[in-house]
């Protein structure tokens, strides 16, 4: 059955190109309407291309039919960036999952966008290299998605976010032409279109090949788990560690509730009675690592640490990380739904903002769980709730707004690594002036004057000159 929005000629053209990899079956369309956030839309047609040329043809066909398109990786985004609005054609890149070339001489790997982040690092392990960005979803998120969102992860504290690890991108532009942004040289000619494209959430085209930089695996790694009986001590220790001139490879924090849900899943021996734990990783050469361990230990002791646990081996280290990286999903053990925020605040304001988060959650009768990248001040307050409870979504949104406001008032930003997407676009005005946003839109428009690439994302409705696809925003969106 072809749903009314998928006009037959468009589907015919796409099926002529892709055969049964262009689909409009009712049940199947429902599978490509969501990402990892609470937002939901519905595609008109789903396409599953297997190479750049097919993507180029899909985009061309969309252009002929004046139909918007939206690229989708593994669908693990947390801000609705891949949620289809405006009856678009969804271009799912999951089948484009080849590692095309590993060029060790240039320390580059060319990959297709559907390659899973962790799969790449696993493949490179024997060569002594890895791809540094490691979002918590790294076992499933795609590198195309990492590029779209300029993803981070615990280890970007020391290594930098995706933008620092991508040298070049082959892109299908919204007009259906294909080009390579950036190159493998040190200083490509012209403007840094590569840097602009990364993090543009699919509003400037579809990445079809990516040259990622390979990072040497560190010779030594030490992982410490510190527990605190007061979350404020933990947060203060974070600032103090950095103030010592030490930048750990990762510096993560979990509060009491997070520890409980995580421990229920992994049984890693997380101290469930602690008010907060810090997971600290140091890597590099032996001397620096040992020195770092001592600094962390000393600072922790000055901040009333309970126990300092040093992972004895790789298995223990992996288990501790497994807990951290599965924390969001594990929240479902408390409540079936969660709303995850992603603000960043100056490290020095962590204690203050954390306390506000708890107060806001209490005031809205919600449960707040905090598990986050403390080292760079990137908070991830999770509001756990049950969507079947009447009126709860209003409270979740009100609390969310209050948390964002508190973060920005503390000198922070809207999103550290999840992106703006659909979820936070109408908060952009809290951070940017009208003129700032109009300037951003001019830049976007240089790539996509027709507004066909992932419409209605990033910038608030109305601020885009080309918002011609109606203002339908799915239920639950913050508008």
């Amino acid at each position: 059955m072809v749903p009314p929005s998928a006009d037959k000629p468009l589907l015919d053209d796409l099926q002529t190109l892709l055969g049964d990899r262009a689909r409009a079956e009712d049940f199947e369309l429902g599978l490509y309407g969501k990402d990892g956030s609470v937002l939901e839309g519905r595609p008109a047609i789903v396409c599953l291309p297997i190479n750049s040329e097919e993507v180029r043809c899909i985009v061309n066909i969309c252009g002929d039919h004046k139909r918007p398109f939206i690229a989708r990786g593994s669908g693990t985004g947390l801000s609705g960036g891949a949620v289809p609005v405006g009856d678009p054609v969804v271009i799912a890149t999951a089948k484009m999952n080849r590692i095309i070339e590993v060029d060790l001489d240039n320390r580059i790997a060319w990959v297709e966008p559907g390659v899973l982040n962790l799969d790449l690092s696993t493949q490179l392990k024997g060569l002594g290299f890895h791809f540094a960005p490691d979002p918590s979803s790294q076992q499933v998120c795609s590198i195309g998605g990492n590029v779209a969102n300029n993803s981070g992860g615990p280890h970007c504290l020391a290594y930098g976010v995706t933008s620092a690890h991508v040298a070049a991108i082959e892109v299908v532009l919204p007009d259906g032409s294909i080009t390579v942004l950036g190159d493998l040289t040190a200083e490509p000619s012209g403007y840094d279109l590569r840097g602009l494209f990364i993090g543009s959430e699919g509003t400037m085209g579809v990445a079809t090949k990516i040259a990622v930089r390979l990072t040497q695996n560190p010779p030594e790694v030490r992982t410490l788990l510190l527990d605190f009986s007061d979350v404020r001590d933990g947060a203060a220790a974070v600032s103090a560690i950095i103030a010592q001139g030490l930048i750990p490879a990762a510096l993560e924090m979990m509060d009491h509730r997070a520890i409980e849900v995580v421990e229920a899943f992994v049984n890693a021996g997380y101290p469930t009675e602690a008010d907060a734990v810090l997971l600290v990783e140091l890597d590099g050469l032996a001397g620096g690592v040992e020195n770092g361990v001592e600094v962390v230990r000393r600072v922790a002791e000055a901040h009333h640490v309970g126990e300092v646990r040093l992972a004895a081996d790789e298995a223990e280290r992996a288990l501790l990380w497994k807990g951290r990286k599965n924390a969001f999903g594990a929240v479902a053990r408390i409540k079936p739904d969660y709303y995850l925020h992603d603000t960043v605040v100056p490290r020095g304001k962590l204690v203050e903002v954390l306390e506000k988060v708890y107060r806001i959650a209490d005031a809205h009768n919600l449960i707040a769980i905090n598990v986050f990248h403390a080292g760079d001040g990137n908070l991830h307050p999770i509001l756990a709730y049950d969507s079947r409870e009447p009126g709860v979504l209003e409270r979740v949104h009100a609390a969310g707004r209050a948390i964002i406001t508190a973060s920005i008032e503390a000198g922070g930003v809207l999103s550290g690594e999840h992106g703006i997407g659909l979820e936070k676009r109408d908060y952009m005005g809290m951070l940017f002036t009208e003129h700032d946003m109009a300037t951003q839109d001019l830049v976007r428009e240089a790539f996509d004057p027709e507004g066909l690439a992932n419409p209605l994302k990033i910038l608030p409705s109305g601020s885009r000159c080309s918002d011609s696809f109606g203002q339908h925003v799915p239920e639950g969106a913050w508008v």
Binding site: M1, E25, D26, F27, E28, G30, L31, Y32, K34, D35, G36, L48, S74, G75, T76, A92, A94, K95, N97, G114, L116, L118, D119, T122, S137, Q139, V140, C141, F265, N326, A327, F328, G329, A330, V331, A332, R333, P336, D337, Y338, D386, S387, R388
Partner: protein, 386 residues
């Protein structure tokens, strides 16, 4: 596409418990080879939700549900603890009861598993055809025995469950298992024909009634309190779930008695003959129903490590594609899934692979892998030293 009304009857708490984080995707064998949302646990749950909320399904829904191997690797990966296996079983049972989901020939095939006489005769016929080279080679069947000597009990300390296809095709594995148990100092007892089939495949196919009938019959074949050892991971997993399936106190008590044979052996390791030098490198393929359902894959490592140098595969327990009847119903997907497993085995650079489930074993053998049951390997190595 034509829609029909169906009520799946999945617990609403279970349906709500998936937060769509997607962490299950890379651990799902069918997603891994198709990269299609409809072939992933997250997608299948979304489909179940869609079906429950509209009360309507169509053939695409049925096809998507049927293409799941039911390895339950997603359950191990799921941080939220979503009970995917039972949701899929509930779905399939509802489809079986309310639609023409299982064809007559599939139902007939499952029925035969519970009838040892027909199974033996059919199997003998296959063996004859095989020797006359009249079976197409693409069926990739193992060498089926023409005649088999009966199993001889040696005491009453433990039961050894023998099962359906495994007993007619691979009775020598039972003999090896028996010798290892005896070497650990216990006498082995065998059930009668009432324990002809555990009913695992029937549950997977949504034939709940038939599965419950087989479960009750199997239970009646094991009087007393002696532990019931199982050397087939799939059967062991099913028998451990009789409590859940029948929900009677007898069934719960029965399930408590069921152990994978390796779980029993780890507590009797010291009684086994001493290990010898130069243990061979053996890769362990964890059967899904041992790793993800019974969570008893570690004992295999421990038992094997007494005589061999076990190598853990680097694919985090991803399914091999066998899936009971799956490899017969979906040979292409099953072979594609197996290809990933074989790549992992090749990376491990071993001489031989151990697999504690007959289905996986046959499926891997058909893919050209040198593989035996871990206790056949142990039996061999253990006797070599005596």
């Amino acid at each position: 596409m034509k829609k029909v009304a169906v009520k799946l009857g999945i617990d609403s708490e279970d349906l709500a418990s998936c937060v769509s984080c997607g962490l299950c995707l890379p651990h799902c064998p069918t997603y891994r080879v198709t990269q299609e949302e409809s072939a992933s646990p997250r997608g299948r749950i979304a489909l179940m939700r869609q079906a429950e909320s509209t009360g309507l399904i169509d053939q695409t829904f049925v096809d998507f549900m049927d293409a799941c191997i039911q390895c339950r690797g997603c359950e191990t990966a799921c941080p939220a603890g979503v009970p995917f296996g039972s949701m899929m079983e509930t779905t399939r049972e509802a489809l079986t009861q309310q639609t023409s989901y299982q064809s007559w020939w599939r139902r007939w095939g499952y029925r035969v598993l519970g009838c040892p006489n027909i199974l033996t005769i059919g199997s003998r016929a296959l063996a004859v055809l095989q020797r006359l080279k009249l079976l197409p080679s693409k069926l990739a069947l193992p060498k089926i025995p023409l005649m088999q000597a009966p199993l001889v009990p040696s005491g009453e300390d433990v039961w050894l469950f023998t099962g359906c296809v495994m007993d007619v095709w691979m009775r020598d594995t039972h003999r090896a298992t028996q010798r290892v148990i005896e070497a650990a100092g216990a006498g082995v007892r065998f059930p009668d024909k009432k324990a002809a089939c555990c009913g695992a495949l029937h549950v997977h196919a949504g034939l709940g009634e038939e599965a419950r009938r087989l479960a009750r019959r199997t239970m009646s074949a094991f009087p007393g309190d002696a532990p019931i050892l199982v050397d087939s991971a799939g059967c062991g997993a099913q028998m451990k779930e009789y409590g859940h399936l029948l929900n009677t106190s007898d069934a719960h008590k029965f399930s408590q008695r069921v152990l994978d044979v390796h779980e029993w052996l780890v507590n009797h390791l010291d009684e086994l003959p001493a290990a010898h030098a130069n243990p061979p490198r053996i890769a362990i393929q964890d059967p899904c129903h041992l790793r993800h359902v019974q969570q008893a894959h570690d004992p295999v490592r421990v038992v094997l490590a007494r005589y061999a140098d076990p190598v853990i595969l680097d694919d985090e327990g991803l399914c091999c594609g066998a899936g009971g009847a799956y490899s017969a119903l979906y040979p292409d997907t099953a072979a594609a899934v197996r290809e990933r497993k074989i790549e992992s085995i090749n990376r491990a650079q071993v001489h031989e692979v151990a697999s504690a489930n007959p289905g996986c074993l046959l499926h891997l053998q058909a893919g050209g892998v040198r593989v035996r049951h871990p206790l056949e390997i142990v039996d061999d190595l253990m006797r070599k030293d005596i």
